[in-house]
Symmetry: D2
Subunit: 280 residues, 4 copies
């Protein structure tokens, strides 16, 4: 993976945006590795990946020079530097399949992120996390308000970019959700919007569906209703018990979360109302 900058933009749609942005990049010799566009409801979304070594200046200077153009088009925009890993603070309860999967992808550098700490309301996973050399922090949930204050404080202290609920079986308070829009990612163990809330595999079993699924989404203050980043399904049949569903579900949860997180850390996910644009 070469050093590159990723420019993400959303702005009111009009003629000439691509020309202006591509013109700006070309004028400085910038080599575009990947470019994606999308228009929805009169709003334009754009992602450009530019090789860092093709530009005569660094990210800071890029931003200074790009700002006037951004202003002209009323852009919401960001420039991400691939040399700066995103910092994921992972929250987990007892189910560790997603955590295990993320730590594997982290330690093999498949997922280029930093994991400054893992937070849990149980002690079970301390040894496994510690083997990776990552701080493991237990938070007592008996006083929920205090617990979530502590979680927010830890997220700040460890300079987290994104909070990942990797099967964290606690509902975040609305204020916390609102504080970090687009920065808290959950994996829900159903194909949303079916089976919101508790025990989705049990609900799926009782309804007799023929496939089950998992959903990776941004957390908002409405339970399991935030913008969906990634989903997938797997076939089951009448012979499968709830335990079988849970087992199939583990595999699909971890792959959906891993894909969703990968899109997010590569700055491929732009929020558009209560939906996402995912530039793959």
């Amino acid at each position: 993976m070469n050093h590159h900058y990723t420019l993400t933009i959303s702005c009111p749609d009009r003629v000439g945006i691509i020309a202006a942005v591509a013109g700006f990049i070309a004028q400085h010799g910038g080599f575009i590795v990947e470019a994606n566009y999308h228009t929805e409801q009169d709003r334009f979304f754009m992602r450009q990946e530019i090789r860092a070594d093709s530009l005569p200046f660094d990210a800071g200077e890029f931003c200074r020079r790009f700002a006037p153009l951004a202003d002209k088009f009323a852009m919401n925009w960001q420039l991400a530097d691939s040399a700066q890993n995103k910092r994921l603070v992972i929250l987990v309860s007892r189910q560790d399949h997603c955590l295990d999967d993320l730590l594997y992808r982290w330690r093999t550098k498949e997922l280029r992120v930093d994991i400054p700490c893992v937070i849990s309301n149980h002690e079970d996973l301390r040894s496994f996390v510690a083997w990776h050399g990552i701080p493991f922090i237990h938070v007592d949930m008996r006083d929920k308000a205090a617990a979530f204050e502590r979680i927010a404080a830890l997220f700040e202290q460890y300079r987290g970019d994104t909070m990942v609920l990797a099967r964290f079986m606690q509902i975040l308070p609305p204020a916390l959700c609102q504080r970090y829009p687009g920065r808290i990612i959950n994996i829900h163990h159903s194909f949303l919007p079916s089976f919101v809330g508790a025990k989705p595999y049990h609900q799926a079993y009782l309804r007799g569906v023929k496939l089950i699924g998992a959903t990776c989404h941004f957390v908002t203050d409405e339970l399991d209703a935030g913008p969906i980043i990634e989903q997938d399904t797997v076939r089951i049949d009448h012979g499968d018990t709830v335990d079988d569903l849970v087992r199939y579900g583990r595999d699909i949860e971890k792959s959906v979360l891993a894909r969703g997180l990968r899109y997010h850390v590569e700055n491929r996910v732009l929020v558009c109302g209560n939906k996402t644009v995912v530039f793959k």
Copy 2:
């Protein structure tokens, strides 16, 4: 496809059912082509396919001889004869992709059924149905009560075994649903239980799901809530419009309906509460 009988059974679970049934069949030299079992909530489900030419008697005599054994185990049971095609009465509105698909499978004998008539609340598809030599009957829906009475009468008159709602955009009255339990099959254009009712693709678009689906289910008096026979999903992305969803949906609707109907006409679907056992 050789001539065979299909014996389907459900009864309270206990030791010795398979032995008793297999023993009965073996005692008469019956050659079992396929056998499936399932237990759920203390109830036992069973399907046996037996080569007709391996038995020394016909279906009627099989039933007479099997009855005492069935009584002993308190069985609900049926013997289907592959020489007797199931008769499907198809109801359709204007969207003809499912109808087109079913007629193709019928005329190429992939789906071994009779289609005594096609009923529609529009005239649009008359010519295509007529080309197949199948009666096309238009029913005026302005008086709904009269229309559904006529539909029920036509179903009886044409000796229908199963009523297939192949994108029939009318809600059947509860009394009609209750009159034919397990005999009315619908294709719903969403992955149920998500997006019940009208305009499911529009609902899916607004929710921003990353896959859409279709559901083949038995019709009960609760809308889109009957036992599910078959489902499937297909991936979409942010670039797809509602029209794209409708287009992808057509392909998945017709394949899900075709598979569900195939299971049904091969006597592979047994109802178990509000769920189905599908012996594939």
Copy 3:
């Protein structure tokens, strides 16, 4: 579907191509509906969909004005006008599932193409094609050389853009393949490169694979070895006979061919050596 132009380009990769093309379009007020890029082995591939009504001139004038820029970058390029349907000449033998599927998509305008004629080495499908009002032409294959000369002549006479082998069970002579590079599309009933040549389902059955597939590809003078446009697979199991494989295969063949053709007629497929770039 609005009236639009699709500009497809391939050229040596260098800095500034996107800027130059987007700049040209913006300079004339062109509204870009969709844009895609790809670089492979120092070659750049590009597709732009532009709303026709946003430009002050027609397709001919676009081409005249664009030519100098295209020359400067040594582009292979084409401008397709959505108002001009591609003309598909379909060749078929006896298996009609792909033909049936294509004619359905054609008559419902899902696939925006013209089908000037259907050519077959059998008479079986005359009535069905005739019902659609499309000329059906029987070609006698006893003298193969003469037959293929006649096919090429018919393709010219009916001004075909693309020849579609929709389960045409004859191997085209190399000279014919070479005459129409990138213009003959075949559906092969296996997941290539497995099971080249005859009876792929039989080969798959004997090898004991757990999924079967289908491949839509451009025809070259090497059998089943041309650039692949689209593929898919479906799960089978040990209980499936060769006949079952053929049955599952029909569904996957027709959907793979339909998707591949759709990409092709929308000018989404660019050939790159023996591979394809498919801008979806």
Copy 4:
């Protein structure tokens, strides 16, 4: 998971086998949890799962009493006791995604096996295996003959039931393959029979396929040609590099191997010529 016995049988097909076996089980009060049958080329395959506590005797006595019936039908048969875990000896090189996945499933008891040791031709994975408390044995491959003798000796010493090649990048000598028919399982990183041998992702990239796959199969003395247990595929596109293929491949390899092994350890896989019957 209750204590159960799994009876697997293959024998010449004839009338009365199911009745005889089910009759034997019923006669002793045996409660059948799951039963599957298959006929192929005049050979009958059968699997029965029986609750251990429903029988009045243990596995040894079951075998003694069943033997005469088995002889009468010329059965190949085995009775597996769920209380006896299968012992998997895992061989691995440097790529550890499959090993990581298997150890996770082992330590969470999702996969009910014993792993008496892990053998590798590299030292890289010692620490991770040691954390699990499993012996890690390095085998020097410079003298291949000696190395494979040592591997066979270790397999015996650790009383392995099955040798799992979890991305072991060495070709086993034919004599070793022949010594353990149906007991060596490999994961190959392509959708066989495509891309046999080295660098399958590279081969797939060059061929331009639109999906890649993985294959779990029994090892025989012909490279990558043994009976296939499980396969799967995943979609790629022109934008994916060989490195992307390798990355997607890791996920599919580990899930295909995990599923294949699960079928194997649950005695669901019966070899039938160069194919497998997999009773799911």
